[in-house]
C-alpha cells in the first residue's frame, strides 16, 4: 500500500509526526521514539498509523506491529474519554490497590484492561509509577492520587463522569 493511500488525516499532527521522523533521520532504530511521539499526538496507535510509520521508516508492518504490541505503554485501541490507571506495584498492592481496583470495576461497570460500554472510562492496571511511599496510587487522567482510598477515587470518577455511584452490594 502506498503512503498516499493510507487514510491518515492530513493535519497538524501528521506534520509533527513527519517532523519527528525527519529529526531522527528516518532511522529504523528510532521506531520506539516515533511510536511514543505518535501516541502522544494521536492518543493511541491504530492500524493506519502503524502502516504509515512502517512505510515511512521502510520497515515491515509486521515488525512495527510486533514492537507496538510488545510494550505495555502503547495503546492499540482507542481509550475512553477518561483514563484511570491503578498502580499495582508491590507497595501499592500491599497497601490495598487490589481492593480499590475491584471497587472501581464494580461501581463503574468496567473491567480492568477495558473501556466501559459508553466509551467514557478506560481502566488500566499499571505496574509501578515510582510513587511508592504514597501507596496506594491511582492516576486519573494523568493526575496522581496518592494515599488513595476507594471513596476518594470513586468520588473523583463520579464527578468526572457525572454519575451517581452504584450502591455497594
Amino acid at each position: 500500500m502506498e503512503i498516499s493511500q493510507i487514510a491518515l488525516k492530513s493535519d497538524k499532527r501528521q506534520l509533527m509526526l513527519e517532523a519527528a521522523m525527519k529529526q531522527h533521520q528516518y532511522r529504523k532504530d528510532s521506531l520506539i521514539e516515533i511510536l511514543n511521539t505518535a501516541q502522544e499526538l494521536y492518543g493511541y496507535l491504530d492500524k493506519d498509523l502503524l502502516l504509515y510509520i512502517s512505510r515511512s521508516l521502510h520497515l515491515p508492518s509486521s515488525h512495527v506491529y510486533g514492537v507496538a504490541s510488545f510494550y505495555n505503554l502503547f495503546k492499540l485501541r482507542k481509550p475512553g474519554v477518561h483514563m484511570v490507571n491503578v498502580c499495582m506495584g508491590t507497595a501499592c498492592y500491599v497497601k490495598g490497590a487490589e481492593e480499590i481496583l475491584s471497587a472501581i470495576e464494580r461501581e463503574f461497570n468496567v473491567r480492568r484492561g477495558e473501556t466501559n460500554v459508553n466509551n467514557r472510562l478506560s481502566l488500566f492496571v499499571t505496574r509501578c509509577i515510582g510513587a511508592c511511599a504514597m501507596a496506594p496510587n491511582v492516576i486519573v487522567n494523568g493526575e496522581v492520587i496518592g494515599k488513595a482510598t476507594k471513596e476518594v477515587v470513586a468520588n473523583s470518577l463520579s464527578a468526572l463522569l457525572e454519575v451517581r455511584i452504584v450502591e455497594a452490594r
Partner: protein
Amino acid sequence: MHRINVCCSSGCVPFGALKVLKAFEDAVREFNVEGKCKVARTGCIGTCYVGPAVLVEPGDYLYQSVTPETAYEIIREHVVDEKPVKHLLYANEGFFKKQLRLVLRNAGKIDPFRVEDYIAFGGYSALLKALTSMNPLEVIENVITSGLRGRGGAGFPAGLKLSFVAKAPGPPKYIVANLDEGDPGVFANRTLAEADPHSIIEGMTIAAYAVGAEQGYIYIRGEYPLAVQTLRKAIDHVGSIGLIGRNIFETSFSFNVELRLGAGAFVAGEETAILASIEGRRAMPRPRPPYPASSGLWGKPTLINNVETLANIPLIILNGGAWFSKIGMPSCTGTKCFSLTGKIKNPGLIEVPMGITLRDVVFNIGDGVPEGRKFKTVQVGGPSGGCLPVELLDLSIDYDSLTKAGAIMGSGGIVVMDDESCMVDTAKFFTEFCVDESCGKCTPCRIGLFKMYKVLEGITCGEGTLEDLTQLEDLGNFIKEASLCGLGQTGPNPVLTTLRYFRDEYISHIVERKCPAGKCFKAQRKEEVET
C-alpha cells in the same frame, strides 16, 4: 542568606508542592525579604510520606507536610523573625541518623534544572580532573580499587566491566545508562534523575572517557515523565555550554548523550534486552556470550551500567578509589539507595552504607510497622528477590549475604509487610508479574512460570495438595537453571523463599483451607455465608 528548597519531585508534586513553591515566592515578595531569601525547587529529600518537604538553609531545617498557608508562616517566623517554626519541623531524627547520603548528596540542596547549582557544589570537577590530569587507565584503576559493584542488581565489579570494554576494539564504542527501573516498589533511580541528573551525566562521561566511547544513551522508563523532562533539560544545558559535545574542556575527547524512552517492559532492564530496545526492536534478551562488552549496540563494544553505578564515579575520581573502598564493607563497598515502602511508619527514599542490617533499616530508619500490627517479612529485590523472615533481620545488606538467603539486592527495593499479608498470595502476586512481563522467548520462563502461577492460584482457592509444594520447588529450580535471562532465572525466587521461610502458611492453605492472614478464600467464605 536563607535558601528555601522546595521538593518538587514526583512524590511531592501530587501533594501540592508546586503550589507551595509559588506560595513561598509570593510570601518572599510580600514580606519584602528578596534580599535575604532565595526560593528554589529541589529534588527528593527522602521523607516522601510527609511531603511536600521543604529544606531551609542554613542549618538544614526540614519542614514536613508544608502547605501554602504554612509556607507564609515559615517565611514570617523563620526568615523574618529568624525563629524556626518548631511545630512544623520534621520530628523524626532517626530517619537520617544511620543514612550516608553520598550519591544523593545534592538531593534537596540544588535545583536540578540549574547546572550552575551542580557546578557550585563541585559538579563536573571530577570530569575536569579525569580529562585533564588522568589517562583512561588511571580512571579504570581507581574504579577497580574502589570495589564499586554494579548497582542494578547483579553486583558485577564495575571496574572490571570498564576494563573489558576499554580493551575491546573500537571506535565506535557505546555507553548505555540503565534507568529502566522496572522493579515494582522501587523509585531510587527516578529520584536520582529528578534530584541530581548531572551526577548521572558526569559519571557517564567519565566512564565513556575510560572506555573510549563517543556516544551514550540514557534508557529511561516512559512512565517517569518528570525524570525524562529533567534529564532532557540537563542534557540540552550541558550540550549548550560544552560540558558534553566536541572537545570537552578543550581536550581531544568528544562525547554525546541522547535519551531513549522505554515503553513499559520490565524485561527491558536486562542488558541485552535494553540494547534491542534502543535498536528499535522488541526488548527480547539474547544468549550471552557474546557479552555487550565485546558485542553490544549494533554489534559494537558497549558499556551498560545502572545510573546509580555511574553516579558514584565522580566521587571516586575526586576522592580516590582507596577512599571509597573504606565505605561499607570490604566485599561490598560504598552505599546503596533504597526505596523503603509498604507497611512501615517512615516510607521514603534512603541511602545507607553497605553492610547495614535489615533490622536497622526497618526498625531504626523506618521506625517499624504501624501501631497495632506485627512485622512479618521484608521483601528485598523486587520480583527477582525474596521474602525474608524476622529471624533474618540481622542479615547484613550486601550482595553475597542476600544471595545466600535466597534474595537479591536488586535495584533497591525494600518492601515491609505485616501480619495482614499472606505469603502465598504475595508469591502469587510476584509470579503473576513475571508471567505478564516475560518476553515469551524461552520455554522454561514462558510456560514454567505460568504453571507455577496456576498452582499457586489453586492453593489460594483451596484446591492445593501437598504434592504441589514439591512441584513448585522442582519447577522453580528448573526454571532458574534453564531460563535464558535474569527474569526467568530469578522469577521463581519469591516462591522459593516463601516456601523456605513460610512453609507453614502454604500447609495451612492446603491442609486446613485456612489463610493465616485472612486474605485468601474470601470469595468462597462469602459464598458459603450467602448460601
